[in-house]
Symmetry: C2
DNA sequence: ACAAAAGTGTTTGTCGTACACCCATGC
DNA sequence: GCATGGGTGTACGACAAACACTTTTGT
């Protein structure tokens, strides 16, 4: 559906101003200790069987952010997730059907909550590290958004958006290690996050693990939002 | 000229797809110990006598970066300056003549080298702190780019692009103080920059100052570019 | 009892910050 | 000789990094 829409629109546009604006969403998830990205199989003949980002033409009268929200929701059913505009790609020949300038967004979703809506196309979560070739310039867009995410995650505690509401410190550490592609010291990591005083100890434990169960926490989004307004400092 | 172009294009566009793409450039300079931005007086009747950023419609077949370069060059005569894409503003009603989605850039120029080309409109350097109301959503765009600059300047030594080739440490400090709007300790500032080992002591001194003249330095861009590729660390 | 991961403190080094005095020049 | 800004070093505190053992649970 995505690609057909694009094509249908493009045929109209090409005869007029020869320019269209789209949004592309890099939808990140976290599962099995890996950072994943949601991709769809392109049905453009030029990119047969290649994977591409989720995107669509921006409609007349539609805000850019709204278009990105719409794409996200139409594919995952998710709403009100963390999303950030990253960069706009305007290469003259980036789309075979004509000039399409695309505004790239990334979003962070709880992969368990996503109810994928295929609309016919194949739609899968791919480990970010394993994605190599993509349709259009989408690999470049993915790389750009991934770099932005790495940067963001060391400045602000946004990683929680990728986790279930209840999580252990080990899961949180695995998330950071996966995103940043580094190994971190467990004690220092715990110390740092606990001293932020933004984790709420739920007095619950993991279940069904073949070893000592970990305590579960939730992130105090409200407290962070309030604090953010006051501090505005560097780092969390 | 800017606005007339926009209007001429828009009249055409409006009858068709009702969407155009433009670039807007936030051109920063540094003079008289103040951060300045180059603005032009709008000649749109809706924004009579208000100041606006320098921008233009992206031409068919023109890359976005190329459009931004073109705008910069046509107004300042400058080429190959530091420039970075920041964000795209797509508010449906941001332009009174129709839908114009604009990609915002900021650039850092040596204000002494800029040879302003007015093309009829008033064109002036304004202290960033003194800019309040602007045409369109340009104040929002300016604020956004300024925030990005603040962020950038504490991560990478890009400020040199705003200075003459030869500068004193005092000038450099004034630049940082102006951009970040803070007071810095002179000794710590000198220590930090000298320890980066990217300043070349020119063995020259200021002239015509009514006090002890300061040593002059230049920034070693080549060394920084090489080092950047190896380190990729945080901070300079 | 064994395996597997959870949980916990201390030490060390680095870096940022605060701070005051002498120096060189023009007038 | 005085006013103005240039140039310099040290001490302290905070935070990041390195590092090993005990505890809890399931099998």
């Amino acid at each position: 559906m995505q690609s057909k829409n694009v094509n249908a629109h493009l045929t109209e546009i090409r005869d007029y101003f020869k320019m269209a604006v789209s949004v592309d969403c890099v939808i990140f998830g976290f599962d099995n200790d890996e950072l994943k990205v949601l991709l769809i199989k392109s049905d453009l003949k030029e990119y047969k069987d290649m994977w591409s980002l989720l995107g669509d033409i921006v409609r007349p009268g539609e805000e850019l952010d709204a278009a990105a929200d719409r794409v996200l929701k139409s594919r995952t059913g998710l709403d009100q997730v963390f999303m950030e505009q990253v960069q706009t790609f305007g290469g003259v020949h980036r789309h075979p059907a004509g000039r399409v300038i695309t505004v790239a967004y990334y979003s962070l979703v709880n992969i368990q909550h996503a109810a994928l809506k295929k609309h016919g196309n194949e739609l899968h979560w791919h480990p970010v590290k394993a994605v190599h070739e993509m349709a259009f310039d989408h690999k470049e867009i993915l790389d750009c958004c991934y770099e932005r995410l790495k940067h963001k995650v060391i400045e602000q505690p946004v990683g929680f958006n990728l986790l279930p509401r209840k999580f252990s410190l080990r899961e949180l550490q695995n998330l950071y290690e996966a995103i940043l592609d580094v190994k971190l010291d467990r004690r220092n990591f715990r110390k740092k996050f606990l001293s932020m005083d933004l984790l709420v100890d739920l007095n619950e434990e993991e279940d069904d693990v073949p070893h000592r169960p970990a305590r579960l926490y939730k992130f105090n989004f409200e407290k962070y939002d309030q604090r953010k307004k006051r501090y505005l400092g560097i780092g969390f």
